[in-house]
């Protein structure tokens, strides 16, 4: 076990830059998720850590040792691939034993460690099967056991859940997280699924176009996003372009004046106001007091079971509002598109961000 430190890690392909100056520290026993849309450089970063891609600049340090120029087989990492990447011609036990064999672990010890690892993922009864005879979830667990059995300093997961169906995904997610915590694994996981990242990782790294946009805990990213990209990528968010008008609020492009915290309007004239849909309160009887002019009109209502999503036109600015579905009989249940509604929110919940 050890920590992982990336310094100014960069990868260029000809004229295009896939990863630009990524600095990151994954502490001993910590799980960090690289999160971002496809093509943001998260997988390239992970593959540079594993040694499959040689960085153009910067360094990778594992447990204090600089491994930037070392080939994959000389790095102490255990990787789980998106496609599982099991050896189809070897049994489950042989797959798991492979890494121990490469480390010249004796037969007796090898066998006991393989069985131990398979017990860890509850597959010891399938040791003699071939990968082709297992379900997707079982194959994924074999891949986990194979990577873990060698006690790698750093555990790497590349979109480990994307090939599983929704129900299984939840199960394997919990399994990976509990294994990671129980064994105190220093882990770097790549995912494009924000829910996956939010539920599994201690800290998240949001990447876009090769750069790190923000690093932080799930709460930090959600409550205090640094820019509109992070606000929009982690959770849903109303992102309203406009101009700050000091204490009066925020003047949206559409003309509406939106209340917001007066603190620190970003430099420059253009800004973006970030307002989470669930932070907006909605009522049926237009109370003009809270709105000033009472100019909100309901455009669409989508019933989502536990929640209901409303699209409201607020003086020319469309806002998405998400509320817990009100009980049957509540006047809110009778709202229909075209109805007048009142909106209100705590000004502190509206965060002003620099325009992209």
């Amino acid at each position: 076990m050890g920590d992982l430190v990336l310094q100014a890690l960069t990868k260029r392909y000809g004229g295009t830059t896939a990863v630009e100056g990524v600095d990151l520290e994954v502490r001993q026993g910590e799980m960090v998720a690289l999160l971002g849309p496809s093509g943001c450089g998260k997988t390239t970063t992970l593959r540079m850590v594993a040694g499959f891609i040689t960085p153009s600049a910067g360094s990778v340090r594992i447990a204090g040792q600089d491994v930037t120029r070392k080939p994959p087989y000389a790095r102490d990492t255990g990787m789980v691939f998106q496609s599982y990447a099991l050896f189809p011609h070897m049994t489950v036990a042989q797959n798991v034993a492979f890494g121990l064999e490469m480390r010249r672990v004796g037969r007796a010890e090898r066998e006991s460690r393989v069985m131990e690892a398979l017990r860890l993922v509850r597959l010891d009864h399938l040791a003699e099967r071939l990968p082709g005879q297992l379900s997707g979830g079982q194959q994924q667990r074999v891949a986990l056991a194979r990577a873990l059995v060698v006690n790698p300093a750093v555990f790497l997961l590349d979109e480990p859940l994307s090939n599983l169906d929704a129900k299984l995904r939840g199960e394997v997610r919990m399994e990976i997280r509990s294994l990671q915590q129980r064994l105190g694994l220093t882990t770097l996981i790549v995912t494009h699924d924000q829910e996956e990242a939010l539920t599994m990782a201690d800290r998240l790294v949001v990447m876009e176009r090769g750069r790190v946009r923000q690093v932080g805990t799930a709460e930090e990213l959600y409550e205090r996003p640094r820019d509109p990209f992070v606000a929009g990528f982690v959770g849903r968010c109303n992102l309203i372009e406009g101009v700050p008008e000091g204490a009066a609020g925020f003047r949206a492009k559409g003309g509406a004046l939106l209340p917001c915290a007066p603190e620190a309007p970003p430099a420059g004239t253009g800004a973006v106001l970030a307002l989470r849909p669930e932070r907006i309160a909605l009522s049926a009887a237009p109370s003009t007091a809270s709105l000033g002019e009472g100019t909100a009109r309901l455009e669409a209502v989508t019933y989502l079971g536990a929640q209901t999503e409303y699209v409201v036109d607020y003086a020319g600015t469309p806002l998405v509002v998400i509320r817990a579905t009100p009980p049957v009989g509540d006047p809110l249940r009778r709202l229909a598109p075209g109805d007048a509604v009142a909106l209100s929110w705590d000004p502190a919940a509206a965060r002003m961000l620099p325009a992209q």
Partner: protein, 273 residues
Amino acid sequence: MTSATTLPWVRRALFRASVAFAFLLMLAPVVTVVAISFFRQEIVSFPPEALTLRWYINAWDQQEFARGFVTSLEVAALATLIGVPLGTAAALALQRSRIRGKEALNALLLGPLAVPGVVAGTALYMFYLRAEFWLDRDITATLEGLVAAHVLLTIPWSVRLVSASLAGLDRSAEEAAANLGARPLTVFRRVTLPMLRPGIVAAAMFSFIQSFENLELTLLLVGPGRTTLPVAMLSYLEFRMDPTLSAVATVQIILVAALMLLTDRFVKLSRVV
């Protein structure tokens, strides 16, 4: 609306009929050859006067057939043993390395498939004669000469089939092996090669059959005392037209079919071809 309800039935019938027709077209010559080999009359006619095994006995008595059979087996086995590893290596270079002119190299390696056998055979014959003069030793009508010529048949098949296998190979399995501590050569031996096995087995089988059955390329390269089975059959045909050839062909068909079934036990052919 009507088309949706009536067509599936008609379509299925048409589909089955065309499948049956295709099979008939492919199997008719084989069935005919096998049937004729049991007819008693010397000049083929229908229906048979009686059934007999005398053509098999006659074939057995012909020295050229037995010797041709052995030569064909030897040539096919050696050409396969040489061509498949070479073809595999070439396929790896074409798929994996960063050498330049891959397209040209690929075309060159598949070339022998495009050149008519008789043309290639003639060219080889002239080349062999020249080489014999320079090296002052026999090449035509020797085992080495035949094997060398047949390697030209086995390489293209191996390159094609192994390339197809390589293209479909999940490279992350190789990466996983490297990640677990395997050096490049170990990755190749323990992961890449076993995963290529179906393609390599198929390449060996196709190569063997191609070589074993080849007539055109071989025609000029054989000589007295060293003839392959197909050439021996052609020579027999020049003088006589009895069902002996059908008997030999039947044995050949059985041999190839057995080889295919045997291969299929190790690799599902439907997965490779």
